[in-house]
Structures are given as structure tokens and as C-alpha cells.
């Protein structure tokens, strides 16, 4: 291919890159402007004055609460999911029992189902056990719905662990709990970190469960919180921009620092879609 051909290809790729990030850059720019500047100026212009007070205003106006809810609910669900998935994957791939393939199949079927089909019965179940408007319902729902994908990412790694390690540990009189928690689990750290990242993205961005199960502002997470919040600030674009930027910054930071893990996790989560 000639030089001109290559220049053309790079140009195409560059235009796509701009299409992919420009809306986010535009969002960041208007989060630092006020309405008169947004409505009269060019969408591409830098703010004449960086109005960081937009951020302070929305943070104190309630976004701070949603943010911390997102942090602890996301974090707790990640710990539960990765721990339970690791234990189940260990028992399924490393221990000897009759129905392990069948049980694994059950978990993998969980990858295919549309969550909306389960939503009404879930709502009713939580209503009956008084877990509606209780963040616990969100934590266990996130855990259940992310277990299949987490196990799928873990599986490959567990299958390749060498038998000798288990044999040696057991001959030395190591109990199975000790074998799992002290030897196997630390060995899976690389793949566990991938599942942590994927769970973080899913939980942080989840919307419909919180929207359905939680009604009090004090328990809402960012995705649902910003929905209400933006209704309030309907016409204040700067405030809306600041709210959205706050909600996406943690994930963007995770991406900047662990981009290879994110890429790995997203490619291995392909089946979930």
C-alpha cells in the first residue's frame, strides 16, 4: 500500500477516535461553564473561566451521598461475588464429585437470561421479606447476577492449576480450607483482579435494580441519583455536566491505571454482552 493509502487509513482511525471521545470532552467543557456561555459560545470553546463551583454545588446538593452509596455497595458486592465465585469454581474444577459439570452448567445458563424477565418477581420477593428500599437487596442481587460471569472468567485459570500443589499440600497435612484460602486463592490473584475490575464496572453502572428496589434518596446510588438530580437542575447545564463527570471519573481512573486488566476483562466477558 502506498503512503497516501496509509495516511488515509490513519485519518479514518483518527476521526473515529475523535468521535469516541469528543462527546465526553464536550461534557467536561460545559461542566465548567455557565448557561450563558454554553448557549451563546461555540461548543468547542474552552471555558473563559473554570467554574469548579459547579462541582462543589452538586456534590453538596446530594451527589456526595449517592457517590458514597455507590462506593460501598459496589465494594461489598465485589468482595462477596469474587469470594463466592472463587469458592464455587474451586469446588467445581478441583474437587471430585458427581454433578460438578451439571452445576457448572446451571451457573453458565445464568449468563444468557434477560434480567428484565426476573424483575417483577424479584421485586415481589423483596417486598415479602421487607428488603425493598434496603440496600442489602441491591448487594445480594448484584452478587447473584455477577456470579456466572465472574465464574466464567475464573474457570480457565482454575483448570490450569497444577495438581501437584494440592497433592503436596494435602500430603503435608494441610486442611482443605487452608489449601484454598492460603495457597490456591493467592495464586489466582491475577485473574481475580480482572474479575474485580469487571464487577466494579458492572456494579458502578447498574441502573434498573436500584431504580426498582430503592426509593429513599439516602440509599440511592449514582446512576439513579443523577436521574432525579438532573430533573431538579433541568436547565442548569453546568450542574448537570458536573454531576455526570463525577459519576464517570472513578471508572475512567480505573481505566487509566488498569487499562490492560479492563481490556482483558471485557474481552473475556464477551458472552455476557
Amino acid at each position: 500500500m502506498g503512503r497516501i493509502g496509509y495516511v488515509f487509513l490513519y485519518l479514518c482511525l483518527g476521526v473515529i477516535a475523535i468521535f469516541q471521545i469528543f462527546p465526553i470532552v464536550w461534557l467536561f467543557l460545559f461542566s465548567l461553564k455557565d448557561n450563558s456561555e454554553i448557549f451563546s459560545g461555540s461548543p468547542f470553546a474552552l471555558p473563559t473561566e473554570f467554574r469548579w463551583e459547579n462541582y462543589q454545588k452538586v456534590w453538596e446538593g446530594g451527589i456526595g451521598v449517592y457517590f458514597f452509596n455507590s462506593v460501598w455497595i459496589t465494594g461489598l458486592a465485589i468482595i462477596l461475588t469474587v469470594l463466592l465465585a472463587s469458592m464455587a469454581t474451586f469446588a467445581i474444577t478441583r474437587m471430585n464429585w458427581k454433578f460438578n459439570k451439571f452445576v457448572l452448567g446451571l451457573f453458565m445458563v445464568g449468563l444468557m437470561i434477560p434480567i428484565h424477565s426476573a424483575l417483577i418477581p424479584l421485586f415481589n420477593m423483596f417486598l415479602n421479606v421487607n428488603l425493598i428500599d434496603n440496600p442489602l437487596s441491591i448487594v445480594i442481587t448484584y452478587t447473584a447476577y455477577n456470579l456466572p460471569i465472574t465464574m466464567m472468567i475464573l474457570l480457565g485459570f482454575y483448570y490450569t492449576l497444577p495438581r501437584e500443589i494440592e497433592e503436596a499440600a494435602i500430603i503435608d497435612g494441610c486442611s482443605i480450607n487452608r489449601l484454598f484460602f492460603r495457597i490456591i486463592l493467592p495464586m489466582t490473584a491475577p485473574v481475580m483482579s480482572t474479575t474485580v475490575i469487571i464487577n466494579m464496572i458492572y456494579n458502578w453502572n447498574e441502573f434498573v435494580f436500584v431504580n426498582t428496589f430503592i426509593s429513599s434518596d439516602e440509599y440511592k446510588t449514582l446512576t439513579v441519583g443523577i436521574q432525579n438530580f438532573i430533573g431538579q437542575y433541568m436547565t442548569d447545564w453546568g450542574a448537570i455536566g458536573a454531576t455526570l463527570i463525577i459519576s464517570i471519573v472513578p471508572i475512567l481512573l480505573a481505566f487509566i491505571f488498569f487499562s490492560n486488566k479492563v481490556v482483558e476483562g471485557i474481552s473475556s466477558s464477551a458472552v455476557k454482552g
Binding site: F90, T223, I248, F255, A270, G273
Partner: protein, 292 residues
């Protein structure tokens, strides 16, 4: 060794917590959804068994078929857009400098929540102050439409952020598959005088056919489940012009308190998704995957 590794009590302790959660919170609700579909029920009061009435109503319900049609349209759009993603991936995987950085840039929208994406694109499509109409007016378009308020444009407008959101995801998958093709195959074809296009058509695409089929299933099934973005951007409007199956179900249950009918629609969504998955798998199945 064998005795320790087949300790039934330990196995139960390790598997049951996860299995219970998945069973109680995923499988039982799915079955219940079909059962609630047989009821007349407002979500609070007692249920009344009405047999298959909800299901037969659904079949006669034009709004349901409209929403199913919109879901199908999104599925078609999404499948067609795979061609663009594949083309970009082919370029990206052909010894482009900075390919790794580019595919990461492409991936960024995929990391955002659908709510943030929807809110951002509501602003982009804003009729008077949005980025899109600002640009259109700057290049001389007189009165560009209010994209999300026009029934004839709304689905296309919604599809733009969908295209934007998933680009990086599919490019990532194709790129990884293309990078797995042994260099020797491509080199041999080049020596035989094949052009870049011929190499793409005759060698690269057939070799990653397995991956392409998986992405077709993902794109179609993913579209059938589409909800968050549409719910936030338009709420299914204007006048049902962007209603999809999941948003219609949600509205019936949580806005109209018609939990019985909503459950029936939810159950139909499950059945349709499973049937479509099986059909596409069958249609795209080949006797043997290509080996290289």
C-alpha cells in the same frame, strides 16, 4: 488425597452459597414470571388466576408488537454496525502504529453507565443548544429537527449512542481475533500476489468466522434486552415511537401497576430471547470450525 478432595461437606459449603443466590435470585424469579403472567394482579392486592388471558392479550396487543418491532430494528441496526466495526478492526490490526492506544480510546464509552450516556446524548441532541444542531446550523442547515421528539427520527437518534457505546467492545473482540491469525498465512498470500482486500476477504474473515458468529448472537440478543438507555433518553416516547420490549414491560408493571400483564410480557421476552439465541446458533453453526 482423593478422600480429602471429595469431602461432601466441604463441597457443599463451597458451592451452595453461590448456587443458592443464583437459584433464588435468578432461576426462581424467571419461573415465577411465567406464573405471575397467568394472574390478574396489581402488585399489592391478591392475585387472581385468569389462565392464559394475559398471554393471548399480548398477542393481540399492538403496543407489544410495536415494541417488539423496535427491538428487532435495533437488533438489525446492531448487526449491520458489526460490518463497520469489523472494517475498523481489519485496518487496526494491519500493522498500524498506535493500534493499542487507539483501541483503548475506542473503548472509553463502553465504560460509562447507560444513564450517563443517555444524559450526555440528550444534551448532544438538544434542539437548540445541543452539539449536533450547533454543528448543523454552523454548516448552514436551517432548522435542524428536535431529534428525540420526532417519531420518525427517534430510533435512529437513539441508535447513535448505541453505536458509540459498543464500538470499542466489538473492535476489541475482532482485533484480538485478528491478531491471533498466524503471520505466516498472511505473508504467504502476499507472496502469491494477493491484495490487502483479498487477504481480508479470503483469509482473515473466514479465519475469524467463529468469533464473528459469537458477536452476531451478542448484538442481537443484547438488542432484545435493551432498556436503560432508552428508558432514560426518551422513556419510550414520543408516543411509543421508541418503546422496546423491556421498557414496555417496565412501564406496565411499575407505572400502570399491571404486574400480571407485565410479568407475561417479561416472560415472553425471556422466551423470545432464548428462541432467537437457539435459532441464530443453529443458523450460524458449521460442521467444523476452521483450524489454523
Amino acid at each position: 488425597m482423593n478422600k480429602v478432595m471429595s469431602n461432601k461437606l466441604v463441597i457443599a459449603l463451597y458451592v451452595l452459597p453461590a448456587l443458592l443466590l443464583v437459584g433464588v435470585l435468578i432461576f426462581i424469579p424467571l419461573i415465577l414470571s411465567g406464573y405471575y403472567g397467568l394472574m390478574e394482579w396489581d402488585g399489592i392486592g391478591t392475585m387472581k388466576f385468569i389462565g392464559l388471558e394475559n398471554y393471548s392479550n399480548a398477542i393481540k396487543d399492538l403496543k407489544f408488537w410495536d415494541s417488539a418491532w423496535h427491538s428487532l430494528l435495533l437488533a438489525i441496526f446492531s448487526t449491520l454496525s458489526l460490518v463497520i466495526y469489523l472494517a475498523v478492526s481489519l485496518i487496526l490490526a494491519s500493522k498500524i502504529k498506535g493500534a493499542d492506544l487507539l483501541r483503548k480510546i475506542y473503548l472509553i464509552p463502553m465504560l460509562l453507565s447507560s444513564v450517563a450516556i443517555a444524559q450526555l446524548w440528550i444534551k448532544v441532541f438538544n434542539p437548540t443548544n445541543g452539539m449536533l444542531n450547533n454543528i448543523l446550523m454552523a454548516i448552514g442547515v436551517d432548522s435542524p429537527p428536535a431529534w428525540l421528539a420526532e417519531p420518525k427520527f427517534v430510533l435512529f437518534a437513539i441508535f447513535v449512542p448505541i453505536l458509540w457505546q459498543y464500538a470499542g467492545f466489538y473492535i476489541l473482540i475482532y482485533y484480538a481475533a485478528l491478531k491471533n491469525i498466524p503471520e505466516s498465512l498472511v505473508e504467504a498470500a502476499k507472496i502469491d500476489g494477493a491484495s490487502a482486500l483479498q487477504i481480508a476477504y479470503k483469509i482473515k474473515i473466514p479465519l475469524i468466522m467463529g468469533v464473528i458468529k459469537v458477536t452476531i448472537v451478542l448484538a442481537i440478543v443484547g438488542s432484545l434486552k435493551y432498556f436503560d438507555l432508552i428508558y432514560v433518553m426518551t422513556g419510550g416516547g414520543p408516543n411509543g415511537a421508541s418503546e422496546v420490549m423491556a421498557s414496555y414491560m417496565y412501564k406496565l408493571a411499575f407505572a400502570s401497576n399491571d404486574f400480571g400483564y407485565g410479568s407475561a410480557i417479561g416472560f415472553l421476552l425471556l422466551i423470545i430471547t432464548l428462541i432467537v439465541t437457539v435459532i441464530i446458533r443453529k443458523l450460524t453453526a458449521t460442521k467444523e470450525e476452521l483450524q489454523y
